[in-house]
Symmetry: C2
Subunit: 308 residues, 2 copies
């Protein structure tokens, strides 16, 4: 991957190469792990973080040739203490070695020098930052000056952020759909994203500031897509949370770009719905579920193929 | 400290014992560290996280007899990669060994099993969680169901959270003061906090769900205090950000409880304004600045003394 390209250009390049916009979420949870991985670690008395690393490495081996980007969920690594953080670090490195873009799902958000510290910690692929991620999810609650340090960092190290706008959980309406005068809170955040992307002199269509917009509110998704024509959308809620391929189609532009659709559990724990597979072959279930999702989303990337 | 007490009762006990509600923020930043600490680490070629640990340990040694609680800012430790996280872990342990309550400023926030993972990671003093903190700051943007897993964890391990309501930065108004119908976003979050604390069967006045309300908007601080009579307030913005003792007084109840006032830089980097001190005596500046702030806030805790 050409590190001198903007995050947006790297993402578009990988989507075109892999012919899909699937983001595989890496959400390791001990009780969900394939029994063969848990057993190996328990037998030799290793720390659970060893199992998390093994599990994520094994998934990366399967999905690296198939999808453009993975999204490690930091909370699950943080839950294992300092050893879990070390495993996270290794997972990020491994994913990048295998040619995947890495979007860290850490939902960080603060102001001033603290926001600068978070941005410097995570944003900057490979050796450009201590953790080496291409992009990070970010909370908007502290307002625009809480977001600006992340924007500045995106520009200095060719990274990206995805700001929470309209999340996929049912209770998100409590704040995000609150009708503030004259627009909702989510629209307010969306407008900042659009303005900021437009203000950045960038050759491509999309700027470095993406938006998290859930698949579970298709009408709002379409409206927010129109409201932020220069933002990549990260669309969670596909599969397990009820979002369908038809629901996410409005997130894509006419070239099949502009969005990535995340799926975590239905891919990484697909073995749980495949009792006919022997336990050692759990990776086959990951591969099949990934391929199936790519197929389901083909109405979006088929457009890309026609245009090439 | 009696771990079977609720976080709220532990906090009230420590405030009464120390006769003040000062929270010392632990914000290690390499370029700000006393030169004696930086030099020692550089001379032997150690990782910067060694300096962060040393700096925080030295501050804890000074403030542990003086104040009830410290607030490590996670971002600065995260900025040093996995080694920084190890230092954070050790700082939390050390602070608790010295009898301090630990409020982790991580501003986490997510939904479902991810929120559960963050809560399980950080909430639970000592060995009750992998990181062992008494309390954590939390983002409300994902709505009430994003907060509920943190509440559940507070009840199961006697921990506390402080939800961002009205932060001290000038740009916070963009979202938080947005007039949603019929109340502002900040008021909306405040109402959830109050309702939730009231719904928790607790013997004390204050529940486990606190609120972050900046010192820089004294009128809103007073109004939010009234709106959340059962919530501890964490008041940032004192000192460096312009908040004064008079500004924070409305945060306290008539018994001198109900709030903690944070100060980070003006205490931990106080040596920078004391050129007459020899570099080795930077801890003296920490002690003097802490004592000074305790004195400034005495109009609030003097009430406590009268009532005992």
């Amino acid at each position: 991957m050409n590190a001198s390209l903007s995050f947006s250009d790297r993402l578009a390049t990988e989507i075109r190469k892999k012919k899909n916009a699937v983001c595989v979420g890496l959400d390791p949870q001990w009780n969900q792990l394939p029994v063969v991985i848990r057993r190996r670690v328990q037998e030799v008395g290793q720390h659970p973080s060893v199992a998390y690393r093994r599990f994520c490495f094994d998934i990366i081996d399967v999905v690296a040739p198939l999808v453009p980007i993975v999204k490690p969920q930091m909370a699950f690594f943080e839950q294992l203490g300092p050893m879990g953080m070390k495993a996270l670090y290794e997972v990020i490195r491994y994913a990048r070695e295998k040619g995947l873009l890495v979007l860290l799902d850490g939902k960080r958000g603060d102001i001033g020098s603290t926001a600068e510290a978070y941005a410097a910690a995570y944003l900057g692929a490979g050796d450009a930052s201590p953790w080496g991620a291409d992009a990070l999810t970010v909370h908007p609650y502290l307002g625009t000056e809480g977001l600006q340090p992340f924007v500045d960092r995106c520009l200095s190290v060719q990274a990206g952020i995805f700001v929470l706008v309209r999340t996929s959980n049912p209770g998100s309406a409590y704040l995000q759909a609150a009708d503030s005068d004259p627009i909702s809170v989510a629209q307010r955040v969306a407008d900042w994203i659009e303005t900021t992307n437009q203000s950045i002199d960038d050759s491509g269509t999309y700027g470095p500031i993406g938006a998290v917009v859930g698949a579970t509110y298709p009408e709002e998704l379409a409206a927010l897509r129109q409201r932020m024509p220069h933002a990549w959308l990260l669309v969670p809620g596909y599969g397990a949370q009820g979002g369908t391929a038809a629901d996410v189609l409005p997130a894509f532009d006419q070239d099949g770009l502009g969005a990535i659709v995340n799926n975590s559990r239905a891919i990484i724990y697909a073995y749980q719905k495949r009792p006919e597979l022997s336990p050692e072959r759990w990776q086959q279930a990951v591969q099949d579920a990934t391929t199936q999702m790519i197929g389901e989303l083909s109405p979006s990337y088929r457009v890309v193929e026609q245009r090439r």
